[in-house]
Amino acid sequence: MKFSYNWIRELVPGLKMDVATLAQQITMKTAECEGVHDPGAFPGASVAAVARAENSEPDSIIEIDNKSLTNRPDLWGHLGMAREVAAIVGLSVVDPVGELPLAVADGDLSITIENANLCARFSGQRVENVKVAPSPLWMQYRLNSLGVNPINNLVDVTNYVLCELGQPMHAYDADLLGDAIVVRAARKGESILALNGEKYALSEEDIVIADAQKPVGIAGIIGGNDTAIRETTKRIVLEAASFPAAHVRKSSSRLKLRTDASMRFEKGQDPENTVRALARAVELLKQISPGSQAAQPVDVYARKSTPPTIQLDIDWAERKLGRKLSTDDVINIFKALAFGVEQAGTRKLVLTVPSWRATKDISIPEDLVEEIGRMVGYASIVPQAPAVPAAPTARNPDHEQHSAVRATMVGQGFTEVSNYSFISDAEADMFGYPPEKLLQVANPIIAEQKYMRPALLPGIRRNLADNSRFFADFRLFEIGRIYGKGGDGAPVERTHLAAAIYGRETNGANLLEMKRVAQYLAPGSNVAPVKGQSKTMHPERAAHVEVGGRQVGHLYELHPGLLDRGRAAILYLDLDTLQGLPAQRQNYRPLRRFPTSSFDLSIVAGERDLVADLESKLRQFAGESLVSLQFLLIFPLPPGKKSVSFRLTVGAEDRTLTADEVTGIREGVVNGIKSSGYELRE
């Protein structure tokens, strides 16, 4: 939103503050100023030439961030900003609107509001004997510098009033407009050719201004082309009305049409402003279309609200701000901001909200705290620690788990990555995720954002492919949310860990290294080989990761088809499942007091017999004398066999085993192994 410094000075006589200081003051007390600049170039005349011609000083434009005006409909016109400035610097504002003419509900215009919920007030006025011509230079210059294109004197007047009072207006060619104006909901199938040349199909949720035949304008947004001002226009009807913010916003976003009018109405305009705007426009028309004759304004005020009053307890406001407040200071602040002030006790006030602040802005005592705070200046508040009970802070076990996992992973050489929560159609297909089970984005900007990821793997695969261009070997991991649908269809989120060891030349040799990492992360976990299922796993290089018999994830080689080059070992854990498992805590075992004995065995087994199966056989046959079982080595024996060597350590709790006993145990194991169909290498 652009403001003219000169215009503000006209409305606040005696304002001496330079524009840079003023902009800074507005930022600190009202709304964010984004910058101050010269008025833009003016077609056909230089800024300086216009200023000379008008015998005025060159203007400066103060640019205010629209976002910071969201709650201040009154600041969408210069008068509103002038009121703020006057309050800030302690001056008075002059109202550009002169004395208001008497308005009638029933005059030479027939105005009907079908539903007061669709229009609180509609004011119209006929002006006869107008002559379409270019506006005077000063008006063109001012509109142009605020980013409004000058069109002709009649249209420019409505825009000038918009910029001054914040009240959107419209001018119809009275000869093209039917006799009766109706404000109503649009009918199904209606459409309108708008001033911008576009045709809009209307819905029953849109509000229109219509004559007996058809809509002539979309309420609060744009006028129709058929009734627009043209070169030949001789008489006009001026409209200044009040439309409900929510309706205008909804229509504007549905029609994808944002206009200077809709931006103001959707903030909640002051209905008190309609007749004022007509009066101001008529006065301007007298100047720039001499000879014009205005009829009596016709005003239908379908729903008038009384100005709200709010009780303010100054002691309460002190506690909110954390700063002392004198009653006089508070009273002066509200008077300067044009509130009605009534004292209702030594430290209590009853405040009447000005109509232009009452639509959406100020309705509760907390709103008044802001008025006081910004006017006394927040810099006057001294920071202070609250007095609160000393108590241990409740912990977040999930974050503690994530931190611990991160520390482990970093210690094992993994770098943390962070991937998007989205995957594409192609990725869903590549990884075999059934689309009906995925949460789908309704309004993605790009195809990569079609679904919410049901696993971290697609992102990890991208990371592997991207980084393989620069590194031959690397390790990375991600801790992140995955998304799915629960039994009732509601979204479910879980936190997963995915880790990868990539090697351009390793051919899967990293899997056992990854198994070691798994045991760091989940001590006591068991890695149980399975056939690789799904499109993500190498079919012969996959395992479940289990803790206490409960599956918590997978260890596998990424399906080689998913990478153009190189191989990757993947560890994938559901951290939420892991977190939910009972803590594994057991009492210590007394230290062994008697020496133990060890012997080695080499078992000849089939190529694909599991070492884990051999281990469990050895444990079974060694019985309770077994103190430890250590895997030593494996080497292949052609054809289709391998030799696996173990060291068995045996002992007893209460004595040293004799040589005969050890031999006996060894023979028991050897016989057991042989009877299980294996051979022993001597």
Partner: protein
């Protein structure tokens, strides 16, 4: 017949010479055996004492003991010296070049946003704030309505939203966790909620559809703006590692009233004006304010009794400021050339 006393003295002198001359532990041992051994020279002298007068014998015996002690001490000293010189030589030979890069896996790296998040979590935990999480796939009730942003509120325009086909949305801020926390734990409460948020917009060097925020809220009796400023100053001084000057100015956010934009005095120029702060001396850092009474009552609490402050800090932005990262896309790129720098 020689005088035994003189013999002891002579022997001591020559033995001391031999001890000091011994250059190896083996030579030293030979000297020890020759002088102090059971069949050594001192032992030989003591055999001659039998023929001496008793008073001479006593004197000679005392002298002999003194000589033994002197020699033993000298032997011990020499032994230590030779031992340490021998180990010195061995150690010399065992020199290792510790400037050689180590074998094995080098440590990995934690994502810069995680690092900043961890720091902030630890700070707030130390000040009695609990760390909470909320879902990223939210309902419009928690993301908007409960935060005093009804369906037709223009504030919804500030935040372009990703919608799910089932009507859910991706949270546009971490503020919904305020609601979830108040509903679940009630008041008083001090909490922060760090996490991932989404805005439906095109990505370029300074815009991302995925980024991180941390929400903070304190609800208690008589929480004031001065408390808010206190926590913000403490937070930012800790984050930037030096005293930070903050200022509040009016800002509009529907879930706070009054609402503020918090600026910090530019850390680059110290407030004098530079390119980073666009010559203003201040950098806009975070929105905050006193929790709107509608938010309090939406959570089933009485706004007459409870009030509080809330703030939202951009973790991504903070990480970018700290490490002077000029392209936001790097953070979600998974590019190890970037991530391995942290």
């Amino acid at each position: 017949m020689t005088n035994p006393i003189q013999t002891i003295k002579d022997l001591t002198q020559s033995a001391l010479g031999d001890i000091n001359a011994a250059s190896t532990l083996a030579d030293l041992e030979k000297v020890r055996v020759a002088v102090l051994g059971r069949k050594g020279e001192l032992a030989g002298i003591s055999k001659t004492f039998g023929s001496m007068a008793p008073e001479d014998r006593a004197r000679a015996g005392q002298l002999l003991n003194e000589a033994k002690a002197t020699l033993e001490k000298s032997l011990e000293d020499r032994k230590h010296m030779l031992e340490s010189s021998e180990s010195d030589q061995r150690f010399q030979a065992e020199w290792i070049d510790l400037s050689v890069p180590p074998q094995g896996i080098a440590p990995g790296h934690i994502h810069p946003v995680t690092q900043v998040q961890d720091e902030i979590e630890q700070l707030f935990i130390s000040m009695g704030f609990r760390v909470l999480d909320g879902p990223e796939v939210e309902t419009d009730y928690f993301n908007f309505d409960a935060l005093n942003i009804p369906a037709d509120h223009p504030a919804r325009d500030m935040q372009d939203t990703f919608w799910m086909t089932d009507g859910h949305l991706l949270r546009t801020h971490t503020s919904p966790v305020q609601i979830r926390a108040l509903k679940k734990y009630g008041a008083p409460i001090r909490m922060i909620a760090p996490g991932r948020v989404f805005r439906n917009e095109e990505v370029d060097a300074s815009h991302e559809h995925t980024f991180y925020q941390v929400e903070g809220m304190m609800v208690d009796r008589d929480v004031s703006v001065s408390h808010l400023i206190y926590f913000m100053q403490t937070l930012l001084s800790s984050v930037f590692g030096r005293k930070v000057t903050v200022r509040l100015r009016p800002g509009y956010f529907p879930f706070v009233e009054p609402g503020f934009e918090l600026d910090i005095q530019c850390l680059i120029c110290g407030g004098n004006g530079c390119a980073v702060c666009k010559q203003s001396g201040w950098v806009e850092l975070l929105p905050c304010g006193l929790v709107h009474p509608n938010v309090i009552s939406n959570c089933g609490l009485d706004p007459q009794e409870w009030n509080g402050f809330a703030f939202g800090l951009g973790l991504t932005r903070l990480a970018m400021m700290r490490y002077a990262i000029d392209d936001i896309r790097l953070l979600q790129s998974g590019d190890l050339r970037f991530l391995n720098q942290f």
